[in-house]
Symmetry: D2
């Protein structure tokens, strides 16, 4: 969707997460200490949460709150968001 | 650490997560709908949480509960675990 | 706010959570097993998350997506929601 | 369990949470703004997470890492903890 791909910071965030996941793979392959792996996986989790917050914020602004949207569009955007929040917030 | 790298299921989990993150990158680059990106990122989050649970379980068994460990080793293993849980559970 | 207080299911949820928290207090006072306390606290957490999801859903529908709101009202409602999600989703 | 009830800070935490939940009930009954309710519920969530972390830490120290426990006791303590973490970390 144009409003996401036009945000280079989001693309960069996802790219960084890919690097963090690759580092976890390497740590496992290199038999690094368990505590190191734990912290790397926890760091990935934090980065993914941060990304999800940003995508949620974008969705909320563009598909629910944006001036000029139709009532049905807003309702649909809100439903999509709630579906993810309910899944995400468990 | 041998006990992690000897678990092919963990290695496979991390590899799957790498694939999921790559799919998010592609979805952004291809201007896929915002709701699609949302669900993919939420799926990554679920997978990372599942991985972290497994690594925590391994750490707990091998570095805290394992028969034959010294008292200091157990205390150190417990501290490492708590550091991650406190960070993770926010 | 009228739209929340007019939802008896939300009021009932909060009341149930108050009862669950009272049960944790009693379990501590009665020296119940640690595992019992753990499960009770985890149950409170699940119930609070469910409540928060419902309040978020209400806010989204009434203060962001509702037909007839002004652009500024929607923007303000979205900002309030994002502030909580960012805090909540850590 | 003695090791929990002998920690007045935990008892005080649970008591504070009970007060926070009561405040949410009052906010609903008083038709306070939705954003106020949102923040109060999010605050309860944070406090419950903090409590759960503390109870997990206690359990880990007393039922898994404690010097002098039998191997079976440690294994049982670890299993109880993992059951809660898996439920909690979703």
């Amino acid at each position: 969707m144009a409003h996401l791909s036009s945000r280079p910071d989001l693309v960069a965030r996802v790219h960084r997460i890919a690097g963090q996941v690759a580092a976890v793979e390497k740590a496992l392959a290199a038999d690094e200490p368990c505590a190191t792996v734990l912290h790397r996986v926890a760091a990935v989790r934090g980065a993914v949460n941060g990304l999800l917050d940003e995508v949620i914020a974008e969705h909320l602004k563009e598909h629910v709150a944006l001036p000029g949207l139709g009532d049905d569009e807003r309702a649909a955007g809100a439903e999509e968001l709630l579906a993810v929040i309910r899944r995400y917030a468990k």
